[in-house]
Amino acid sequence: MANIQGAGTQQNTYDAIVIGSGISGGWAAKELAEKGLKTLVLERGRDVKHGDYPTAMKESWEFEGRTKIPAAELAKQEKQNRTGYTTHPASAHWFVNDLENPYTEEKRFDWMRGYHVGGRSLLWGRQSYRFSELDFEANAKEGIAVDWPIRYADIAPWYDYVERFAGISGSRENLAHLPDGQFLPPMEMNCLEKDVKRRIADAFGGRPMIIGRVANLTKEHNGRGSCQYRNRCIRGCPYGAYFSSNVSTLPAGYASGNLTLRPFSIVNQIIYDKSKGRATGVRIIDAETNEVIEYHAKVIFSCASAVASTFILLNSKSDRFPNGLGNDSGELGHNLMDHHFKVGAAGISDGFTDKYFRGQRANGIYIPRFRNLNKETKQKDYLRGFGYQGGASRLDWASHIKELSHFGAKFKADLIAPGPWRFGIGSWGECLPYHDNRMTLNTAVRDKWGQPTVTFNCGWKENEYAMRKDMKASAVEMLEAAGLKNVTPFDDVINSAPGNCIHEMGTARMGRDPKTSVLNKWNQVHTSPNVFVTDGACMTSNSCVNPSLTYMALTARACDHAVSELKKGNL
C-alpha cells in the first residue's frame, strides 16, 4: 500500500466504496468494478489471497493437539467456540479473538466473526436456496412487521445471474416454495439416504427429500476446479471448488482493472454532508496504525454483515441524523433475526451393512418446508415454517469417543471397521421480526480503537418455541416412518441462542414506507439514497432457508440500479 494515508482528497476519491469483502461485499466489488466504477473495497481485517489457506492440506496428525486447541487459546475465543465447530485447530485462525473484540449481551447472542478478506464467505455452510413468493408475501398477509417492498419476480432474474457465476449444484424439483435455479449437476445421495427419501415420500404423500443445493462445484466452472470430496471447506479450498469472495468475485473485480482493496481498514462512520444532502464518503481507522483517514465516493455500499453495517450506520451521527444515518424511522438496530435450530432427531439403520461410500461429500440432504404452505398444511400453533438439513453416514471412531462401556481388543476392532449407518436431521426454523429484538451502540464499553461496541438484546418468543415442538416431533415421525431404529430426538435450545446459526439478519430492514423502514426496494437508505446496504441487515423477514444466496442476488440487483441511477445523474 503506497502511502495512501498521506494522499489528498483527490487521491482518496473513488466512484464507489464497498465496506466489507464477504459474500455481499465481494459481489458489490465485482459488479461495480465490472460496470466501470473505480471501486475501493475496505476490509477491516488482514488480506487473504486465494490459496492462503494454511491448514487446507493438513492431516489430523499434523495438528499439535489433533482436534483440540489449548485451553489457554480457547479462553480467547470463548464466544467463537459456542458453535461447537468454529474453534477447531483447522479453522480457529479464521475467527476473531473475543477478548480484543468485545460486545455486551443483555441476552445471550453468539456473534461469530471472521475479520479477514473474504470474511465468512470462506467459512460458510454453502447451502444455497432461493426465497419464494411465500416468503416475500408472508409479512403482508399475516400483518407481521412491514411488507417486503419486493416480490419473487423482482429478484428471480438476479438469482439466475448470481447462480450462473457462483456455481450451485442441485436438483430441479418444481416446488413453488423452493424455486429451482441455474444448477450444476446435483451431488449423489448415499444408500441409506435414498432409502429414507423413498420411505418419507411413501409415508407422507410425496413429501420431498432432496440433495442439498450447495455452492460446491460438481464440475469445473468459470475457471474453478470441481469438488474433490474432502469435506474440509471451512479451511479454504485450494481447488477453488466452493464459492468465496477470495476465489470468485474479488478476482473478477481485479480483472476489470477498477478494483482497489485496502485491508486493515475499519470503517468508523459514513460521512454525511447536510448541505449536499448526501453521504460523501467514509472515515476509517487503520487497524494497525490507528490513523484516521477519509475516503470519498459517489456511492457507498455497506456490506459489512448485518450487525457491522448497522453498527456503522448507528455510529454515523450528524446534525441531520442524530440517531444514526438513515434512522428517521427509529427502526435501525431493531428487528434482529437469526434462524433457530439444533432441534431434530437421529436414528440407526440395521441395513446396508455390506455397503459404504467413497469420498467425503461436502453436502447433506434437505427436506424443504412442508408446513403453512396452504390451507391444508396450516398450523394452529405457529406461523411460517422450517426445513431440515442432515444426512446419513456410518458411525466411526469419532462418534464413539465418549462411549464408556467398552474397551479392549474388540472395541478397537469395532472402531477400525465402519460402524452402523446413522441418519440424522436437524431443523432450521424461521424467526419472526420483532421490534424489540435489537442491537444498540454501547458507548460505555470501547474497543481497542476507542469505538463504541455493540450490545445485544434478542431472544426467541412464543412462535419459535411452538414451532420447535413441531420441528422435533416431525423429525421423530419421519425417521420412524423411514424404518430407523433407536430414533432419538434432540432440542438444544440453549445452544440455539440467536447468532449461533450465523444467519443474523434484519436491523436495517427494507420497506415501502420511510417511516417504518430504513431501506427502499433497491437497498438504498430512504433518506440518503447513495448509501446502499445489501448484506443481512436489509432483510425484512428471514424465511427458513439459508440466506447467503439472497444477499448475492440483492447485491447484484442493487449494483445494477446504482450504476443506472449514476448514469441518469440521479445519485
Binding site: 448415499n190 476392532a413 465402519p418
Partner: protein
C-alpha cells in the same frame, strides 16, 4: 484386516509397488517405534505416566493391528495434559490417577501398572461404570485422549484406516468389499 494387508493396501493407494520384503521391514519399523519405554513424560510424573500407559494399553491393546503403545499414545496424552487441558481438567486427571492407584493398592497391594491385564480391566470397568451419567470425569477424559491419540495418528491414519486424502469423487453406495471393511481416515 491385518496390518500387513493395510500396509500393502496403503502402498497400492499411493501407487508404489512394495515388494514383500519392504512390507516386512515396514512392519518391523512399526514394532521398533512402539513401546511405552521409548517415551518419557514431560508433564506427568513417572508413576502417573506408567499408569496412563497401562490404561492406554488396555483400552487399545496390540492385536493384528498396532496398539496404543505402538503409536505413542502415552506421550500424546502427556503432551495434551501439559499443554492443552484446562487447569480444572488437569485436576480431574491427577485425582483420577491417584484414585486408581489407591484402589489398586487396596485390592492388590500393588500399583496399577504392575497389575495383571485382567486385574487392570476389572478396575477400569469399575471406574467406567462409576462414570456413567456423569460428564468430563477422569475416565471420559483419559479415554478420549487415548482414542483420539490413536485414531488421529499418522500410523493408524495411513496404514490401518483407509487413507484417501483427495478422493476426487463421491460414490454414494459401493460394496464394502471394495474397501476391506475398514473406515475412512478422517
Amino acid at each position: 484386516m491385518s496390518r500387513r494387508e493395510a500396509i500393502k493396501r496403503a502402498a497400492m493407494l499411493i501407487g508404489v509397488a512394495f515388494s514383500p520384503s519392504l512390507v516386512e521391514s515396514a512392519l518391523q519399523a512399526q514394532t521398533a517405534a512402539g513401546g511405552a519405554g521409548a517415551a518419557k513424560p514431560v508433564y506427568l510424573s513417572a508413576k502417573q505416566f506408567e499408569a496412563v500407559s497401562a490404561i492406554a494399553d488396555r483400552i487399545l491393546p496390540r492385536t493384528d493391528t498396532p496398539g496404543a503403545l505402538d503409536v505413542g499414545v502415552p506421550a500424546f496424552a502427556d503432551h495434551m495434559y501439559g499443554k492443552f487441558l484446562s487447569a480444572a481438567d488437569q485436576k480431574v486427571v491427577v485425582a483420577g490417577l491417584a484414585d486408581l492407584e489407591t484402589a489398586s493398592g487396596a485390592a492388590h497391594g500393588r500399583g496399577f501398572a504392575a497389575l495383571t491385564s485382567a486385574q487392570q480391566d476389572a478396575l477400569l470397568t469399575k471406574v467406567a461404570e462409576a462414570s456413567k451419567a456423569k460428564e468430563r470425569t477422569f475416565f471420559h477424559q483419559i479415554k478420549e485422549l487415548v482414542v483420539l491419540g490413536y485414531f488421529s495418528s499418522e500410523k493408524i491414519g495411513k496404514t490401518v484406516l483407509h487413507y484417501d486424502p483427495v478422493p476426487g469423487r463421491f460414490d454414494g453406495c459401493i460394496p464394502i468389499a471394495e474397501v476391506g471393511n475398514v473406515a475412512w481416515t478422517k
